[in-house]
Amino acid sequence: MPGPADRIFRRIPPLAALLISPVLGTVFVLGFIFLTLAAMAIIPVKLIRRGRGGRAAGLFLAGAVLLGGPAAWGQAVSNEMCINCHKLPLQMKLKDGSSVSLQIPAADFGKSAHGSLLLCTACHTDIKKVPHDKLEFEDRRALSLHYSRACTSCHGGKFKEFQEGIHWRLLSAGDRRAPLCADCHGAHAITKGGVAKGFTPQACAKCHEKPYRQYETSVHGRGLIQNGAKDVPGCSTCHPSHTGQDPRKMEFRINIPQLCADCHQNKPLMEKYGLSSQVVSTYLEDFHGASISLYREQRNLPPRLTAVCTDCHGIHDILRVKDPDSKVVRENLMRTCQKCHPDASLNFPASWLSHYPPSTTRYPLVFFLRLFYFIFVPAIIACMLFHVGLDFAAELRARRRSRKERA
């Protein structure tokens, strides 16, 4: 755990910190001694004499400051001191027989997001003096796991998010393959704004190779990897990196249309790629989408869902809809429908409006039927209201008249 000094020194370049830390430490300690003595002088002597506790407390305070102060400040192991040795090609033997390089290229850490802010000992809290004791680890992963705790002391908020996700659940269940902070963000060479840059699809591919291979050839993957487009979804766009839920779970599936809507309802973005921004609204109007809207509203999650975007378009292997291999291109659509409707015939796919609002050219029957009802229903109801209004007045008149006659 980094002490208060680390928090202050994070803002000061390491060399300056090295110079001022003993001075500051001395001033601090002397100040404490002075204040304690002053306090003891001011407190009435009687009070101290009467209660031994008071004097004991005073002495304890003074002792703690005298002994603890220098002890706390004495650990100022500077980054220079570390680099002096760790610029050399050192090797550490691990208990499993492998060895790990201890050489830290100075540029790596110096240029990293932490380089100008943190002492080495902020993360390597077990190093208290130079030269330090030999450290021992089972294997490479044990070393990473040991130091992963360091991130949490500053990035507590992110750690809390991470604890909600599946990777943390795997880690705490003892699965050592699950990613630690450094696996995605890097250890010494963390870049500024490192989250976005560290989370390249390649980082995830270390474990999730199969989805990555699919993603690589998908329309999104080609956009990001080959064309370097920044507004194309990478892994963490759909799988929130820290809170990342299990995508096989219903909680995740039921939100997929919203997930895709984040980009596909964004008109300027879709226009840039020549895509329709109406795909979500047309989906929500159709049977599948309306069902999802209502499933989201019910108290318990349903055991199964109607089709969401990924059921037809694919997940990591989404292709351009006109691509001959696309799951939703006309030639393949029947097979896609048959995943849920096994007996679907060749006519069946045409029952899906394909994200188009009906018009005179697309689905004209639906268009004209809708037009008919748009005129017919209001006309009928208007006539009826007209009749009802007249009738109401006439009935009232007739009633008044017959009452008068009876009188």
């Binding site: 019910q298 679907a344 007045a393």
Partner: protein
């Protein structure tokens, strides 16, 4: 043309039987199914409305709501078929009159009814059922036909598209959805007005509860039926009352 209607008059009560027990029961079953279908159907049409979720949560979940809607739909369809079969049998056996049959003359009645409502003519003399009741009956029957047919297509889309082009599914969905809106609005505007809010019957036309209509009301609202059931009474009253009734209207017949 019309076979005689079963005559059940309780002179002492001054009322006439208008709906048999079976007919009353048919109405109540239809009404219950209609309400159930509306409650379970509306949230599906307006799935993004703010109240749709509350209805789903009230019923439990969407799957249960859909199941209820479909079962109620089957019951409604079955009931319509039952009604058509038994009503035609009754007519064929001469037990019931074709009193609901629409005639061209009903169009004239609509015109006269509007004139009366506008205060420009006498109240049209209706038979056993007047044009408002006929309009509602046939509207209901035709609407039910559309709803049952499109509902079946929507419940069996795979089977339907084996014979028909795929476009029938969205067509059926459109028709089902708008026809339901039409039915609901007609029930609210037309039926609820005529059966509940009309000044003569407010707060409720109880004829559908006990099946009987007072002779006074029958004479006023269905004078031709009154004449048919009580020719001698109508004849003797006609001498005195007809002119009086005529005089009470702004313009004579």
């Amino acid at each position: 043309m019309m076979p005689p209607e079963e005559k059940d008059v309780r002179e002492e009560e001054g009322s006439v039987l208008r709906f048999t027990r079976r007919q009353r029961l048919e109405h109540h079953i239809m009404a219950a199914l209609f309400i159930l279908l509306t409650v379970t159907g509306l949230p599906q049409k307006f799935s993004d409305a703010f109240w749709a979720g509350s209805v789903v949560r009230l019923i439990g979940d969407l799957d249960l709501m859909r199941w209820l809607h479909r079962m109620a739909g089957f019951a409604f369809g079955g009931f319509t078929v039952y009604f058509l079969v038994f009503a035609s049998l009754d007519v064929l056996r001469g037990r019931a009159a074709l009193s609901m049959a629409p005639f061209l003359s009903d169009l004239r009645e609509v015109y006269r009814g509007l004139l009366w409502a506008a205060g420009l003519g006498p109240r049209p003399a209706a038979g056993r059922f007047d044009y408002r009741e006929k309009l509602e009956f046939w509207g209901m029957l035709l609407g039910s036909g559309v709803m049952i047919l499109t509902g079946l297509i929507l419940y069996f889309p795979i089977q339907a598209t084996r014979w028909l082009p795929g476009q029938v599914i969205p067509v059926a969905k459109t028709a089902h959805s708008y026809e339901a809106m039409l039915a609901l609005m007609v029930i609210v505007v037309w039926h609820l007005y005529n059966a509940m809010f009309r000044p003569g019957v407010f707060p409720l036309d109880t004829t559908i509860i006990h099946g009987r209509m007072s002779l006074g009301r029958l004479r006023e609202e269905h004078p031709l039926e009154f004449e048919r059931l009580f020719p001698e009474k109508a004849a003797e009253e006609g001498e005195e009352e007809r002119p009086a009734r005529g005089a009470s209207d702004p313009s004579p017949a």
